[in-house]
């Protein structure tokens, strides 16, 4: 088992093997994510009951919570890839780090945008400078920083190290976002899902949320794999296997 995992790790570390292996995952990720997203969103939008206080505006939760959760998870994954870049100098980790930045930034922006649209009918305002919302805005800037830094430095090795440092340093913001609603007074309510407790939400409301969240995670993985494969093609453009692959395409 351990030997197998180690072999898998080494294979994933090689761009070519990663490209091939990830090619196998793609159809599964595509089908499962689109299916779950379709079911989850239809369920949440049309069949989940309205909230006793918020009415139908609470349906925004089916986008807002998965997007926010992915924005945090994506950044965490970027920071982990950053550690691998700095410590092991692994090429694939550089590629993964850069490939997460754009989808992560989109998720973060979606969380902020849907949060604002949810805030207006429930709180009475689109925006409020409390610890949760502000730290989430900082996360968006960190994502944009990683994207900008990656494209501003011409040398791929230097760009990878610089973005790795920013990704790791910015990870300090993750626990702040997560616990802001507990450490300080915020307008934002505490987390809907906690690992340790039963959610304070009726089952007919949280089942669609779970389906949506799973769909979003698989979709994110799908998109990141697509981007990683593109980046591999770009970096290995001179390699014979890439040229052969490109030649087959026509």
């Amino acid at each position: 088992m351990w030997a197998y995992l180690e072999r898998l790790w080494h294979r994933l570390g090689s761009p070519r093997h990663f490209y091939d292996l990830a090619g196998w995952w793609l159809p599964w990720l595509a089908v499962s994510s689109l299916l779950l997203l379709g079911v989850g969103i239809t369920w949440g939008l049309l069949f989940a009951p309205p909230d006793y206080q918020q009415g139908h505006s609470f349906r925004i939760i089916y986008i807002h919570v998965p997007a926010a959760s992915l924005a945090l998870t994506g950044y965490f994954a970027m920071a982990v890839a950053g550690v691998v870049v700095l410590v092991w100098r692994m090429k694939m980790a550089e590629v993964v780090l850069q490939s997460i930045a754009v989808p992560g930034a989109v998720m973060c922006a979606l969380a902020l945008f849907t949060g604002a649209l949810w805030g207006k009918p429930t709180w009475g305002t689109y925006w409020f400078w409390d610890a949760r919302i502000t730290s989430m805005l900082i996360l968006l800037f960190l994502y944009l920083g990683v994207m900008a830094l990656g494209s501003a430095i011409a040398s791929p090795v230097l760009a990878a190290r610089a973005t790795a440092v920013l990704a790791i340093v910015g990870a300090v913001n993750i626990p702040i976002i997560k616990y802001s609603v507990e450490w300080w007074n915020t307008l934002h309510q505490p987390a809907t899902f906690k690992l340790t407790e039963k959610p304070a939400m009726a089952p007919e409301m949280y089942w669609p949320l779970l389906v949506c969240a799973l769909g979003f995670y698989l979709f994110f993985a799908f998109v990141v794999v697509l981007r990683v494969r593109n980046a591999v093609l770009e970096r290995e453009a001179g390699a014979r296997w890439v040229r052969e692959l490109a030649g087959e395409g026509r």
């Binding site: 969103i41 309205p50 849907t114 649209l117 207006k120 998109v223 697509l226 453009a237 490109a246 395409g249």
Partner: protein, 63 residues
Amino acid sequence: MVFANLDELLHMGGHGPYVWVSYGVSVVALAWLLVAPLLRRRALLRDIARRARRDANRNPQED
């Protein structure tokens, strides 16, 4: 379904605009996330193939 008719579904008790704009923008964003790398892949492969052909023409003894 919790809505009796299309009108009710669109209106959502006055919260319709907030909900529908949220979902609409999200669908556009996800679609872009999906389509952008697929288009990029096509462009990349075309580019690589073109360069490979050019190199092959320039020094035909190689490869």
